[in-house]
Structures are given as C-alpha cells and as structure tokens.
C-alpha cells in the first residue's frame, strides 16, 4: 500500500503548479486551466483524507463529487464570460482587462 503522504505531495505539487500558472499565464483560458489544476488537487486531498483517515465515512468523497459538479458549473460560466470578453475586445489577454479598475 502507498503512504498517504505521497498522495498529498502529489496534490500539493499540483496545487502550486496551478498557482504558478495562475500567476504567470497571460491568457484567460490558460489561467482557467490553472484554476482547474488547483481544484483538482484539492479534490485529491479530500478523497485521500477520507480514504486514509476516516474510512467508515463518506464526507470527503461527496465533497469531491460536488466539487466536480461545481467546477463544471464554474467553468461553464467562466467560459461564457471569456467568450463575451473576446467578442468585445477581440482577444483574451488578461493585460487588456483593466477597463474596470478605479
């Protein structure tokens, strides 16, 4: 059997890779992909904790299940917004999205 920490290391690395992508990518869709990575790593954590620490219960399992559903919803709305931005500005570089500052 595999040690719990190994799973956690993988998820943590995935999380920070996602954060790195969120900080450095200039394309809105790429940023969204990074967010998906972050979400995914959290899902893994929930599942792993549930499996290893609270084997008789299902909280982590269901949390991941719902998180997947919610991330689907979030992606749908985010992509709708991005398409709208593209329609208005003809590109989706985050650098150009400072119209609404101040």
């Amino acid at each position: 059997m595999v040690q719990m920490e190994y799973y956690l290391i993988v998820s943590t690395v995935m999380m920070f890779v996602g954060i790195y992508g969120f900080l450095t990518r200039r394309n809105l869709l790429a940023m969204l992909i990074s967010v998906e990575l972050i979400l995914n790593s959290v899902d893994i954590n929930f599942v792993v904790f549930n499996r290893f620490l609270f084997p008789g219960q299902l909280e982590g399992f269901f949390f991941s299940l719902f998180a997947i559903g919610i991330s689907a919803a979030e992606t749908a709305v985010a992509i709708a917004i991005i398409i709208n931005i593209y329609r208005n500005m003809k590109n989706i570089q985050v650098r150009n999205l400072d119209k609404m500052k101040w």
């Binding site: 940023m31 999205l97 119209k99 500052k101």
Partner: protein, 629 residues
C-alpha cells in the same frame, strides 16, 4: 381683543400670497388684494383704537396697558425669556393709526403711480411685508420682539429701495441703506443683550427697581439702543442712507422714508422713555443734542438741494431731529414738570407722518407729471395741477408751522418743551423752524411758481394726476387740516395722565413770526421769475453753498474712511492673509492628499495577477509568522 392678531396676520398672508403667486396674478388683481388687505387692517386698527380709548382710564387715571395675546417663544432660564405678543398702550395704538392710514393711502396711490411698472405684484407684496413688520414693531411686547421686526422693517426697506433693481443707483442706495442701518443695529443688539443680561428681562419696564451693576450699565445699554434708533431715524452722522433711499419709488419714500420706518427710532426712545428718565437722563439729553444738530444740519442742506425728493428727505431728517429733541429735553415724566416733550414728540410724529406723506405723494404726482426730480424741469406747475398744488401748499404751511394747521400745534409743543429745558435750545430750535419754513417754501415756489420750463412743458405737457393719486392727497390734506385740533394730550402723555394742551402764546407767537419771516424771505427770493437774489447769495457764499449742496461732504468722509482707511489698511492685508496663508495651507493639504492618492491609486492596477501575487505573498508572510511563533 384677540382680533388684533389679525392686524399682523393679514398683511403677512397678503405678502405670502402676492409673493408666491407673483406674476401669475394680473397686476390689477394683485394691487386690489394688497389694498383690500391693508384697508381691512386699517379698519381693524381704527376699531382697536376706538375700543382701547373707549374703554377709558383705570382708577389711577391712565389708560391700562393691554396684552391681548402673548406667548413665550424662547425661554432662556431664570426670568429671561423672549415673548411674542401684542401690546396695546397709547403710543402703540397711535402708531397703529399712523401706519395703517399712511399705508392704505400709499396702497391706493400706488395704483396710479406704479401703473404699468414691471414688478407691480412684487411691489405690492413688499408693501404688505413692510406694513406687517412695521405694525409688528409697534405692537411688540418686549424689546427683543421689537428688534426682530426692526430688522424685518430694514429688510423690506432694502427691498423697496432697490425696487428698480436694474438701475445702478437704486441698487447702491439699497445696499447703503441696509449696511448703514445694519451697522447701527449692531449697537441696538448689543444694547439689548446688555439690558437683558443685567436686568434679567427683555420687557420694556423691569418689574423691580434696578440695583447695582444693572443700574450702572443701563445708561450704556440705552445709549447703544439709541445708536440703533439713530441709524433707523437717520440721525447725524448715520443719516447718509436716507437721501439716497429716494431712489426707491416715491410712494415708498412716502410710506417708509417719511412717515413710518424712519420714526422707529423716535418710537424706540419713547418706548424706553421711563427707563431713560429713571436711570439715564443724561443719555436722554445727549440724544437731544444729537437731534438738534441733525435738525440744523439737515435744514441747512435742504435749503440748497435741487432734487425735490432730496429736499423732502432732508426735511424729514430735520423733522425727526425735532422729535428726538422733544424727547431729549424731557427732565421728568410729569408733563407739567418738564415731561411735555414726550407728548410733543408723539404729537409731532403723528402730524408729521400725515403731512410728510402728503408732501411725498404730492412730489410723486409732480414727478409723474414732468418725469424728473429736478427743480429745473418744473416751475409754474400750479395751472396744470390744481389739486396737487393746493394740497402741497397745505402741507407746506403745516410743516412751516402756520396756525391752524396741525404742524403748528405739534411744533409749538416741541418749542415750548425746548424753552422749558433751556432758552438756548429753544431759540436754536425756533431758528431751525424758521429755516424749515424757508426751504419748504423755496421748494413750493420752485415747483409751482417761478419761471416755467416752457421748452420741456411744450414737449410734454404736465397734467393732473389720476383720481387714485389725488384722492389720498385730498384725504391726507384734510387730516393735516384738522389733526391739530385733536386733544392729543388726552390720549398720550409721558405719565399716562390726561394732559390738557394749552398753547403758550409767547412761544407760539415767536415761532409764528419766525415761520412767517422764513416764508416771506422765500417768497421774496423765489416767487419772481428771475432769481437774482438767490443766485447772488449763492455766488456771494459760494463756498458755503457748494459745501451744503454736497451735504457738507459727509458722504465723501465716509467714502474716505471706508475705502481709504478700512478697506486699504485693514481689509486688504487681512484678505491677503486669508487668500494666501489660510487658503494656501488648505490648498497644500489638498494637493498633498491628491498626490498621495495618485500614488496609492497606481497600486490598483486592475491586473488580477498582480493582486493574486500580493495575496499569495501576504498568505506566505502570515504562514511564516505563524510558523515562527
């Protein structure tokens, strides 16, 4: 007698109504509303007077002071409170009659005089406001209420002087009137505050005899109040606003600047008379000297003015000087023992209001006819305007003090009171009375006789004024004719007891002779078509003539003091300090804030990644802190 509140409410409602509806009313309708309201008020005033004096004297032989309505408005703690109410006593009832009569006459007269003027409705609404404030002033139950209405009167005077607000002179005159009287009112206000603080009451008569500090400071308070009165009543040297106030419409001059508002100062002194006599007779005598000097000064200036309204304005100043003198020469409150002046002053106030209003309204008719204020445009008008001529003559005779017109009786009482005080004062006042006769008849002859300005008159033929204007003239002339026979002392006297007026024929004879002399000189100098004597005298004493014509340069002195000394030496540096130091400091604060804000604003880049890296950094920092602790 609760209906007396209507005396104040009706004109106020009239003012609101006319002011709010404004030009939505037809001019005639607005005028009719104003006139009807004033008419009702006049009837109420007459009825009040009838009922008040009809109720008779009480056991001690005086007409009791009645307060039909009173409410505590601002309690200050202790005995000090400001009331609003209505007080009836002989002088306030007498003033009610004067104000309502003259106001009604002016309302009627204005129908003709102001016909076709722009702002006719505004004019009537201001007249209503003035009537209300003036009536409130005389009906006040305490000195503070009086002050409130006093200022209201000042405002309405300002509004009416500046009625032709498109004319620069009128605007300047209204400002001048307001500022000068307001300046004087500062004294009044301080006086009131001292009075209220030390006596613990704003009422006209303190309940208990004053002691200690109150007694010591009362003369100061009364003196300061007199400054306010001097401002309103155009006493020297605060008289400078009144001649300029003639820029207003002539009926306004008749109502405000001849008959009612300018006697407010006299009324104030009369109102405070018991205190003056009881605690500050020396202040009272100072007012007498101020009044006497003013009377002399104004009479001299009036002799050489060429604008007929100016002549009348200076004559008004002079006559108010007479009233103040009469009050000032009182030495006791017993009319038989040196308190005669009080009655004389009030009597003169009453008669003067009638004949001076008549003079102004007559002048208004003349101006209406020739479209000029200057004597040079007149001359020989008697054949064009008979009614105006006769009524004007009646008024001139009355102000000159010719028996049996009303002015004779009141002026005779004043002179008698002056002779009681000191022969010196008596003779001076008699001489001024002679001057009065001279300048009034100079005015009369220059308008109605003498050389006609045919050039002007053929171009625009003078005509008699319409009925709405002549009717008030006739009415006022009739009052002037008979008012002298009113047993005035029966109603008003310094101690409230009935005083039977008896004419001291040595004084009366002297004053009659002097008046006749003045008239004779005026006749000799001005009745003829050529004015050789007058012109010769003017040449001979050209310095004096010029100085008098320029009112002895009092206005210029004021101009110099205000502009050269106060503005240049005090106000300008202060203004500089305000603009550069105070404002500069504030501007500096604003600029610094602005700059800092700009710097901070740069951090709000709007770039989400920049925010998130800061967020991550913050979280990181917090985590490190938590780990280390």
């Amino acid at each position: 007698m609760e209906y007396t509140t209507l005396i104040l409410l009706l004109p106020f409602l009239g003012f609101i109504l006319l002011g709010l509806l404004g030009t939505r009313l037809r001019p005639g309708v607005a005028g009719a509303i104003g006139t009807i309201v004033t008419g009702v008020v006049a009837i109420l005033c007459y009825w009040t007077a009838f009922e008040y004096f009809g109720a008779g004297r009480d056991a001690s032989g005086v007409y009791p002071v009645m307060i039909p309505w009173n409410t505590v408005w601002l309690p200050f703690g202790g005995s000090l409170h400001i009331d609003l109410g209505i007080m009836l006593d002989p002088i306030s009832v007498m003033m009610l009659i004067v104000i309502s009569t003259v106001s009604l006459m002016v309302h009627i007269y204005s129908f003709g005089y102001m016909k076709g003027e722009r702002g006719f409705q505004r004019y009537y609404s201001f007249l209503s406001l003035f009537t209300m404030s003036m009536l409130g002033l005389v009906l006040a139950t305490n000195i503070f209420q009086m002050y409130i209405f006093w200022e209201l009167v000042g405002v309405s005077s300002y509004l009416l002087i500046g009625f032709y607000y498109t004319r620069k002179e009128a605007v300047a005159a209204s400002k001048k009137a307001f500022i000068v009287t307001r300046f004087a009112d500062l004294g009044f206000l301080i006086g009131i505050l001292i009075y209220g603080f030390y006596t613990g009451s704003f009422s006209f008569t303190p309940d208990a005899p004053l002691m200690g500090t109150a007694k010591m400071l009362l003369p100061v308070a009364l003196g300061l109040m007199f400054i306010g009165g001097a401002g309103k009543s155009a006493m020297f040297p605060l008289h400078i606003w009144l001649p300029d106030a003639m820029e207003g419409p002539t009926p306004v001059s008749a109502l405000i600047h001849a008959a009612t508002m300018v006697v407010a100062g006299v009324y104030l002194v009369a109102r405070m008379f018991p205190l003056f006599i009881g605690y500050a007779p020396e202040v009272l005598h100072i007012t007498a000297y101020v009044g006497a000097f003013t009377a002399l000064y104004a009479a001299v200036v009036a002799c050489v003015q060429s604008d007929i309204k100016r002549v009348l304005a200076f004559s008004t100043i002079s006559q108010i000087g007479f009233m103040i003198v009469a009050l000032g020469v009182c030495t006791s409150s017993d009319p038989h023992e040196g308190g005669l002046g009080y009655m004389a002053s009030m009597f003169h106030l009453f008669t003067h209001a009638m004949f001076k209003a008549l003079l102004f309204l007559g002048a208004g008719c003349i101006i209406h006819a020739v479209h000029s204020n200057e004597m040079s445009a007149m001359g020989g008008l008697r054949k064009y305007m008979p009614v105006t001529h006769i009524t004007f003559l009646v008024a001139c005779l009355s102000i000159a003090g010719i028996w049996p017109l009303s002015g004779f009786f009141s002026k005779d009482e004043i002179l008698a009171a002056c002779f009681n005080f000191s022969p010196w004062m008596g003779w001076v006042m008699t001489a001024i009375a002679g001057l009065t006769a001279f300048y009034m008849f100079r005015l009369y002859y220059c308008i109605f006789w003498g050389k006609e300005n045919t050039e002007l008159h053929t171009e625009h033929r003078p005509h008699e004024a319409p009925l709405s204007m002549t009717l008030p003239l006739v009415f006022l002339a009739a009052v002037t004719l008979v008012a002298g026979w009113i047993p005035f002392g029966e109603f008003v006297s310094s101690n409230g007891q009935a005083y039977h007026i008896h004419i001291d024929w040595t004084v009366a004879g002297t004053s009659l002779c002097v008046a006749a002399l003045g008239i004779a000189i005026a006749t000799w100098m001005y009745l003829r078509e050529d004015r050789t004597v007058a012109d010769g005298l003017a040449d001979r004493f050209s310095g004096l003539h010029k100085a008098a014509y320029h009112r002895f340069y009092i206005d210029e002195i004021y101009q110099f003091i205000t502009h050269k000394i106060i503005f240049a030496c005090i106000s300008t540096p202060i203004a500089w300090f305000d603009r550069h130091i105070v404002d500069g400091f504030m501007n500096l604060l604003a600029i610094v804030t602005n700059k800092v804000s700009w710097a901070i604003r740069q951090m709000q880049s709007g770039y989400i990644q920049r925010y998130s890296i800061w967020f991550l950094g913050g979280a990181l920092g917090l985590a490190i802190i938590l780990l280390l602790v």
